[in-house]
Assembly symmetry: C2
Homo-oligomer: 102 residues x 2
């Protein structure tokens, strides 16, 4: 039986409780800032958002640009790898709306 390493790796990368939702807002809603994300996503804590963002950066989905200004300004954006994941995000969203009626 052919094993499928890619599937389990993806599951690990996007399996976090909020990962898909974070990517969704950044990719499809043009949300770029920490505070925006926190307000968009229901009831995520700051520490959790921070950690999941760092993991998404580490896994190559996002870039993090710190402008070194006061007040602080940081922008998150998709990497090419992240961009290539957008069709799947759209498919998931549309699947949920159609199959689950959400």
């Amino acid at each position: 039986m052919e094993r499928c390493k890619s599937v389990s790796t993806i599951q690990r990368m996007i399996g976090g409780k909020w990962k898909i939702e974070i990517l969704f807002y950044i990719a499809l809603k043009d949300v770029r800032h920490f505070g925006q994300l926190r307000r968009c996503i229901g009831n995520i804590s700051e520490s959790t958002l921070s950690k999941q963002l760092r993991e998404l950066v580490a896994d190559g989905f996002l870039t993090r640009t710190d402008f070194g200004e006061v007040p602080p300004r940081v922008e998150y954006a998709l990497t090419p790898q992240g961009e290539s994941f957008v069709p799947i995000l759209l498919a998931l969203k549309q699947w949920g709306e159609k199959e689950l009626g959400l």
Copy 2:
């Protein structure tokens, strides 16, 4: 900001550590039996496999058919909802192979 309920719901349904892999084997490799799945999937415990299968059944992805025979024979198969998810599984697999080189 438009909230996106469908995304978080999907994350909850397929966020389990082995969910995507289980669906992958049933959908694309025609694996139907408990023991087969356990052997295909690396190092999943029986109790965990059992629980995740039950959740996939409860969430409408799978059907479970118990033939009531001795020795026991049970078959898992995709529901129509599960079938409709197959394109996303394929997309995930192909994305992983292409972007991650797996």
